[in-house]
């Protein structure tokens, strides 16, 4: 009986050891096998919006000049007024450049000081959209230049003093 059991165990062990070699031989014997490999694209990255805007402005100095003459008329105690007045500007431009990766809109407004309610300001370009920056094209960034013009009477100081504020809104 012991011999039968020993023989059975020995046979089983021999078969177990021989199995991998037999399997390998069998694979080689069947030739190469194609295994399909699958892939798909998932964009899990995020590209946040980065707003970056450059603004530059000139010295914003305006002169309200009056010329001509006023002649006294003694017959009716009035002046014959032939004067004219006009605003001239120096450094009245504002430039906005968009380096964002999103479009922006630049708008401009002028607010006179509260003691100069008759003073008004207007811009050659009151508002304009600026396109997002293009990758690898820094110098080609979209920009605009607008010019401020003042109107209205002014009888203030002979020196340059602040008469208002410009607000650049970037939307």
């Amino acid at each position: 009986m012991k011999r039968i059991i020993s023989f059975t165990l020995a046979l089983a062990s021999a078969l177990a050891l021989a199995a991998p070699a037999m399997a390998e031989e069998a694979t080689i014997g069947q030739g190469s096998q194609n295994i399909e490999v699958y892939a798909k694209y998932e964009d899990g990255s995020t590209t946040g919006t980065v707003y970056s805007v450059d603004i530059s402005w000139g010295d914003m100095q305006f002169t309200y000049a009056k010329s001509g003459s006023r002649t006294w008329d003694p017959s009716d105690h009035t002046y014959d007024d032939s004067t004219t007045s006009a605003w001239t500007a120096d450094g009245n431009t504002i430039t906005v450049t968009n380096h964002s990766n999103a479009d922006v809109t630049a708008s401009f407004s002028f607010a006179p000081l509260s003691n100069l309610p008759d003073l008004q300001g207007s811009f050659s370009i009151p508002t304009q959209a600026l396109a997002a920056g293009v990758e690898n094209d820094y110098v080609g960034a979209d920009s605009l230049t607008t010019a401020l013009t003042l109107s209205g009477d002014y009888t203030g100081s002979g020196e340059f003093v602040q008469v208002g504020t410009v607000t650049v809104t970037i939307q």
Partner: protein, 176 residues
């Protein structure tokens, strides 16, 4: 001798006095707490440096060209601001890159109420967190608000405020 009659306040008079006093107290309390928020005036001279400012990593510092007598600034920012009422802090991103030639002061404004005002941000500095102004948290409740950044520019040499400023619309989320 006639006994002097003691003059005593009638009951209805006492009640009237108490009512009047109570109304006066109520009016005084209402007057104190119902006043609209006083606007925070932008300083004419640059204030002290913002303590929460930090250097912008890798900032080149190469200056923009500036028109004579004028100014040039570069702004980098996020349009989203989150306010935490528990610690009265605004989480935001705003940078004054080294390319600018002006100092800046940043305000966060909701419906004409300035709720945050930074100190001076010199070129090359950024902020990511600012403390709410005093009593600003009392005006806010959790939710979303439309507001804006107001950016004020100051000459770094003289400290004088420029005649140009900038407004940037924001979405402000307030949380407890």
């Amino acid at each position: 001798m006639e006994k002097e009659k003691k003059k005593s306040i009638p009951l209805w008079g006492a009640v009237l006095l108490v009512v009047v006093a109570a109304i006066a107290v109520c009016v005084a309390v209402w007057a104190v707490f119902s006043q609209p928020a006083r606007p925070v005036l932008a300083p004419d001279q640059a204030p002290a440096q913002e303590p929460a400012a930090e250097s912008i990593p890798g900032d080149s510092g190469e200056k923009l060209e500036s028109p004579e007598g004028g100014g040039s600034v570069s702004l980098t920012y996020s349009r989203d601001v989150t306010i935490d009422l528990s610690d009265e802090t605004a989480m935001l991103y705003f940078a004054n890159p080294g390319r600018s030639n002006q100092d800046m002061v940043l305000q966060v404004v909701i419906r004409d109420n300035v709720i945050v005002q930074s100190g001076t941000l010199a070129p090359g500095n950024q902020v990511q967190s600012l403390t709410l102004l005093q009593d600003a948290a009392d005006m806010l409740s959790p939710g979303s608000y439309e507001g804006n950044f107001t950016v004020l520019y100051y000459d770094p040499d003289t400290g004088e405020k420029a005649m140009v400023n900038t407004e940037i619309p924001l979405t402000i989320t307030v949380q407890e």
